[in-house]
Symmetry: C2
Subunit: 351 residues, 2 copies
């Protein structure tokens, strides 16, 4: 049971080194590692989902900024900061919904303001990655306590080791619980249009010897209706101040179904996924992606030519449907603005 | 606006003729018509979904029985009936959920008992097809009256001309309303695992110049949440005496979402889709199909080898979530056992 070797992203070597990214577009057929050496390569890796998952793209953006600035040793502070802001803007535009990306870049820019040196940026990026690994571990421990000794779970998309620098967010409790001897069976939504559930979650859970049953997204209703599911576990890409959670498209229907069947719906996310500037889910920008992801997967046209397509990559689950948001600093049970704000204040993410 | 030329199934010629089946596994890329000349060919066409849709497979089974019996002219009544029952059993096993198949076979067997002659069976099969066409037209007229002059609808799978001998069940009102000048925009769920929405519904609606937007099944939640949908229209494969409706997998989640958002959820089905012998949805057999439909569409493996798959082809929507079942004899509003039984009695389908 070693998901860690498949951590989506890590840094190799010193400042002259490179980021190592597991190309998730090739899984599960091929295990291809990309050596990413420039800011532009990192932006492209994020954009084409070679690296994906909110915490992982936060780490990726941090390393991307290091790659963009590593030639700027010894330059004037104002110039260094100006270049850092330009580089951050390029990376921030790569994907709009996951706030971890903007959060990590802000953190590196703050460090640059204090220490305008590439070496300091790498140290900060490494801290982002290390803290993400630690947060994952803590999410796993807190989440495992919520799971029965024998039970059946349902998850969507990939909120696992592949989505983070550590053991994942929503899958972390499954790994921790399994290590502690709990026997879990996990239904995995395939997660159209890009099949992250089928390709990534089924792959990493199966490697860890967790019992997996793959279903299409449309089958989760039957599975929940059958009464055998103990909890639904998902990740998040951005959480608003009122507890509304943006996550992979298809999460919201799951939350509605879980509520109907009295099954607890848990969101697992590090505090870096919260956006205190977003009052509610309505303010979260939802990325729309290319129509061909829906109408012609792998270039094979399914639909007749010219048919319109709507392809939002995320949806928003209202806080009222969430039993608890599990963070590395504890649970926010039945989240609402008061509870989320209190948690963010305790964690120093809000004044 | 001529969906009729694409009617899934019809008979060509006299008793020496053949059934003509549009091979729906090839759409929308190719338009291939199959000349079906034996019972076994028809069973296989039903099983591999060359012809699908509850009313269409009722008609297909009827023609299949004609094909199996057409050599039996002038034989002894008991022998004719015995052979007819054997042939019906072969066809009935082809697919278990849609009750129209069993209903059509029962109807032909009753005719055979009165008139043990192939020619009578063909006449009865032609009557089944003709009545299905008429029922579709009536569903369309009754349904069109429920639709706004300008509006947005959402549908799942294919309950169109391709699923019937006529203009469809859930799509019939769209055709009738469009012909009457109503301007409709239809969101179509792609309908994993076999993409009947993307391949069939988008194709037939686009040919009829109806505005279509294709989405993955997981996007229906966002579309309904956005508030722009006036009604959800679906077909059915079997309706129990209490109004519970079995339909393509993914229908139940749509009904739950529609209820949450106050959007009326309409089921369109001819009376042949009702099963008076099923007390509730729990008694409806749910077909499970090959795991590869989920894990390796078109032979391309998505998931790692050996991962378990659950692949139910249908789910059951409880009657309480259905605003009305639209039949050719009128609406059953807010269906329950009393209302369904009353409607079946009026129609002579229940004593």
């Amino acid at each position: 049971m070693e998901p860690e070797p498949f951590a989506a992203i890590r840094w190799e070597g010193d400042l002259a080194g490179h980021a190592l990214v597991l190309d998730q577009t090739k899984l599960p057929g091929e295990t291809v590692w990309l050596e990413v050496r420039t800011l532009e390569e990192m932006r492209d890796a994020i954009r084409r989902l070679a690296v994906r998952g909110a915490p992982a793209i936060g780490v990726a953006a941090a390393y991307g900024l290091v790659l963009g600035l590593r030639g700027q040793s010894g330059v004037d502070r104002a110039e260094f900061l100006g270049r850092a802001r330009e580089a951050a803007a390029v990376l921030a535009r790569a994907r709009p919904t996951a706030v971890n990306l903007a959060w990590a870049l802000e953190r590196l820019l703050a460090r640059a303001a204090r220490e305008p040196e590439p070496r300091a940026l790498l140290a900060e990026a490494e801290a982002v990655a290390r803290e993400d690994r630690e947060a994952c571990q803590r999410l796993g421990e807190l989440g495992a306590a919520l799971l029965p000794a024998r039970g059946t779970l349902l998850t969507h998309c990939n909120a696992g080791a592949l989505a983070t620098a550590g053991i994942g967010t929503a899958l972390a409790p499954i790994y921790v619980a399994a290590r502690a001897g709990k026997r879990l069976h996990v239904y995995v939504d395939e997660t159209r249009p890009l099949w992250q559930g089928a390709r990534l979650t089924a792959w990493e859970l199966a490697r860890a010897s967790i019992q997996v049953t793959l279903i299409t997204d449309s089958m989760a209703g039957s599975v929940l209706q059958s009464g055998g599911v103990d909890a639904v576990l998902v990740g998040a890409d951005r959480i608003a101040r009122n507890g509304d959670c943006a996550n992979k498209i298809g999460t919201y229907p799951l939350a509605v179904l879980a509520a109907r069947h009295g099954v607890p719906f848990y969101v697992f996310a590090p505090l870096s996924t919260f956006d205190p500037d977003c009052a509610s889910g309505e303010e979260i920008p939802i990325e729309e992606r290319a129509p061909e992801e829906v109408s012609a997967p792998w270039g094979r046209p399914l639909a007749p030519p010219g048919v319109g397509v709507f392809n939002p990559a995320f949806d928003v689950t209202p806080a009222e449907l969430v039993r608890a948001i599990v963070t590395e600093k504890g649970l926010i049970e039945r989240p609402d603005e008061t509870r989320v704000v209190a948690a963010l204040r305790r964690a120093g993410r809000l004044a």
